[in-house]
Assembly symmetry: C2
Homo-oligomer: 213 residues x 2
Amino acid sequence: MAAAGSRRLPRAERERQMLDAAVATFARRGYRAASMDEIAEAAGVSKPLVYLYLNSKDELFSACIRREAAALTAAVRDAVEVGATPERQLWSGLLGFFEHTAAHPDGWAVLYSQARTVGEPFAAEVAVLRSEIVDFVAALLTAACGSRDVAAYAHALVGAAESLAGWAATAPDPAPTGRELAASLMTFAWSGLSQAVTGRVEGPAREESGRAG
Amino acid sequence: MAAAGSRRLPRAERERQMLDAAVATFARRGYRAASMDEIAEAAGVSKPLVYLYLNSKDELFSACIRREAAALTAAVRDAVEVGATPERQLWSGLLGFFEHTAAHPDGWAVLYSQARTVGEPFAAEVAVLRSEIVDFVAALLTAACGSRDVAAYAHALVGAAESLAGWAATAPDPAPTGRELAASLMTFAWSGLSQAVTGRVEGPAREESGRAG
């Protein structure tokens, strides 16, 4: 019955089910421990069908990385309020990022905990995603402040956001919500960036960066 | 001549030379590609001597992680000006971190690029180091502002610092100096933290975090 019912699904829908099952399994069991048997069972299909669609565990994992990376990037891009003030753009982008990672903890675990630590070629795929997000943030910051420190701020902001989302995934109960995380990072980061917009530099940084290093 | 000369070295000094060679080799070649032959050659000793002292490539790599982690943690702890203002403590800690990672790029590469991406048990060793640094930063922030967001700020600050140091290691010429990186992160982070000290929260964060979420 299940097999007959599932045969009617179009290929794209069937593949989506397999990827959903694979992301959940990789996130919870880890890349190495996860088996194709478990993934097939979680997807409600036979193991040969998973191989027919996705070829190998490696390719299945790569497909998970690509899908989750594209979804995260799209969530951030779509969230940023184009044409708003820099402050509002930052807030909307942070909210988009943290609400997406909070709503898709398995996808975030695949990108942040699994793909980066399993080694190559997966770490390189995640590095490409990361550099796209850094470039996107840098472009927004360039538009806002045009500072020569824009690259540094973009890396600082992306690193801070990753670190917070990673912490939230393992944080004590109750875990902070996406909105709370966005508010924390907004408080942490914005005033610094607002100073950058107006070209002012804080006390010790100004004092010290002027000295011979 | 070299062998006769090197036989006179005390064990601790010999081991230090081997670890220096191992850190440089792992950083440049990667954990998997690095061979015990290369490491022995770089240390100017025989391969059996490396095995005698450090047992295996895995144990050698673990010893590198422990040494570089301890050095980094000590650099940050020693740099923080105890009893100074929170602003000054932050600046001195950031400067300690970035000057250490700039001066020891191979050690940083072992911790940040190699150990985290090679998988277990090494990723877990680095995770322990990281949580110690987060706890240390959180304790400083608690003393400074006692805010309930201290854990979030500590994770944001550590993530931002890691991301900047990682970027600097692969940045275009001329790479930013440790002092420049510290100044960038100081500018980025401090004003946000100063608002936290006085209990003020920025506009959008205050507006939004008050809404049902």
